[in-house]
Amino acid sequence: MSTQTAPPLLSGPELGERLRALAGVDAVRPAAAGDAIGGVSAQWVVEPHSDRDAASLLRFATEAGLSVIPRGGGSKLSWGNPPQRADLLLCTLGLHRIVEHTWADMTVTVEAGCTIAELQRALAKHRQRLAVDPLWPERATVGGILSTNDTGALRLSYGGLRDLVIGLTLVLPDGTIAKSGGKVVKNVAGYDLPKLATGALGTLGVITQAIFRVHPLPAGTQTLQLQPAGLPGMQRTILDLLNSDLPCAQMQACLTSGAAPALYLGLEGTAAGLAAQEKTIRERMQPMPLSFATAEVWRARQDLWTPPKEGVYAAVAKLSVLPSKLMEVAAALDRLAQARQAQWRAVLQGTGIGWLRVEAAEPASAVELFREMRTAIESGGGSLTIAPLPPRSVAAELVNGGATALSAENAIDFWGGAGDALPLMAAVKRQFDPQRTLNPGRFVGGI
């Protein structure tokens, strides 16, 4: 950590002037009430149009002792603990170009502020896609899904973002512009910093550009719905399918308190291939009821963030366990929720990653329930992290607002335990951001 004393903290109009001089007049505006993060308001919003400008802004902020909150589409800005300080919001939407889609090499270079939907539309022109299904793709940006590591059910067959990102430009708080990885899918030259920045919630540097490997769009898709009997039946079916020689692109169990669970399988392939796969699954699953479903069911995860009814408070969390423990989690959730008279819903995926929503009349019981769930899950080697409703400023667009169970009075640590490597993580943070310019206090263990 630096021992130098920070220069006097600039603020107000004087600060605005300095920022405009660095990044241009139209790249700076005063922060509005809607720009607050976790209840902490920022002073200025800056929107650089090049990584050079981002670098000058970051270096300036670090030298002036200002804290910076990177922001993409804002859809998951409320993820992470509230920042200890927030002076500048660094918005990446000014960096939104698709730099290069070398479709024959199946890679794409894209700036951080490009939305996922826009990227997918461009890739689809060559019948390709980035094989991820993140939340709110019309709003979510490349930088945002990378920093929050948000992918969906496709992860089962295509891996997570860590497996798809092959190159990255990261601007560090001291103004260093660092590239790592590259444009080729196979590359072991140097440390894998794209993985380090993925899921780091913008606490090490600001992602300005990413290079991904992309995949062909499937010739066709088909969604099947299975109706296993009860949680034990569901668990057995999931494991049977995971451990079979039948490739499922996606797999998710949808559970709701007091209702029969359903299991959805997403298949990909040619018409002949899909028909054959469906037939095989039907035969093997006999006599379990099997029907066709629409692709709409894959929105079930996103629907967990819909606003609760009047007088009810909702909260959502992500969990990760071994696939064989998924239904144990559901059973525990059901038990704990009943004790607290809470309702719950869950979307549990074949990778062992799942999403829970609880609803209660008292905000405290929803938060308490997550605390109990976390204890249970962590003792089995898994994790539970909170995934709040989008901030009010963007909520209207995405989910029409809603009452969140989380608040300053009802706080719960966002991340839970980070294990015995936490001191090492803190050491990495010190190397990249010794002044704690970026997202101070928002990450695990107060990083």
């Binding site: 891996g159 001291d174 040619t270 095989t280 080697g381 015995d420």
Partner: protein, 498 residues
Amino acid sequence: MTQQPSNLSATSAAAGVSPAVLAELRSIMGERGLLTAPVDLRTYECDGLTNFRVMPQAVVLAESAAQVQAVVRLCHRERIPFVARGAGTGLSGGALPVADGIVISLTRMNRILEVDLENARVVVEPGVINADVTSRIAAAGFFYAPDPSSQSVCTVGGNVAENSGGLHCLKYGFTTTHVVGLEVILPDGQLVHLGGSALDPPGYDLLGVFVGSEGTLGIATRITLRIVKRAQCVQTLLAAFNGTNDAGAAVSAIIAAGLYPAAMEMMDRLAIEASEAAVHANYPPCGGLLLVEMDGATAEVEANVEQVEALCRSHGAWEIRRAKTAAERTLIWKGRKAAFAAMGRISPDYIVQDGVIPRTRLPEIMDEIATLSDEAGLRVANVFHAGDGNLHPLVLYDARVPGQEAAAERLASRILELCIEKGGSITGEHGVGEEKKFMMSKMFAEPDLETMQRVRCAFDPLHLSNPTKIFPRPRLCGEKGGKYAPHPLETAGVAERF
């Protein structure tokens, strides 16, 4: 490569390991676990890259994480550098010892600790041989996907350190895709867990950084792997073309058609000749041989293989053979896997390179390599992972002919420069190690390398763990995170940081 192996010069004033420290090592390791006699140490003086050799002060043969931890603690206390070593098959000098340091061999830690088929996880010690993982789970219909050609001898710990690839990583991904958790002894002797058995544990993905860090961030002592269920149907075919350009065009067409092979490999005439001499896979004598494997659900694979065959034919394949039995498939791959070692049949010496290019640049680089080869008067055999643009040019030479070795090294370096010029990489799977560390500054700018070294400073501020590899110059970790660092774009190429 021609560059000075810097650790040779850097360690001419080697402090060495004192008799007191040796005694302490002996008390940790026991008589059986410590080698100090020059005749014993000689086995460890190089890895698969045999033109770099350094004698270590001692070698410890670890049998447990506790021993590794005790030895590393001692090294930390005494500031003795150490180098982890698996089977020593690395091709970039990663396991090359440091003259004033010790080697920590992990081959005795070779137990498979847990097999959890339900969750497709296997936990191993680092010295487990890659192929032994698959052998252990094959009967249950699973396999461990990363399959380097050296898989019958190399260790999982070495694979983790190099992020090794294999024939099937086109579809299944590299080692990093298949490692979910690690127990690591950090360079100060602390034991930590990176990743876990479930995905996405909270915090930085230090697991992702450790894999591929070539032994510079600590020693992996326990590794949790993800295994894969065998597909319902596997089809392997070989297609003979007149040259690598035709075969390359077929590869592009297969990709463009949205087909997604599990493996797609290519060999040129010289490589085929050598491989045939060694293992008689019965390859057709041709200018460009393409090997393609498709796997998945049966109906899907059948339809796709037809399409691959049609595309090969329309791009000039004059013979196509499909493996009809598992034995035939094994034979097809055997010829490919034996390619490196087979060079010994047609040349006394050779250099293996590992460049990567965007796949579409394949035809042009093949022409350029041919020109370079003519100019240098040296033969170059080509074997490559065509699906992902990973080239293994094999530069053939005779060390007994004065000047040939140097010419071969120049040619090999030139090929890597071509890869960089085409937007590729100097290494796709063999690692930077000792061999290519000076090429790193050609591929990355100084701020890029400096940023990577921040990670090393967090893990190993004293530079004890395989200290001389990967980076052309170590970063002093006392240096400030660069509060007043000049803007990199202003300084790029102008000022040196060190």
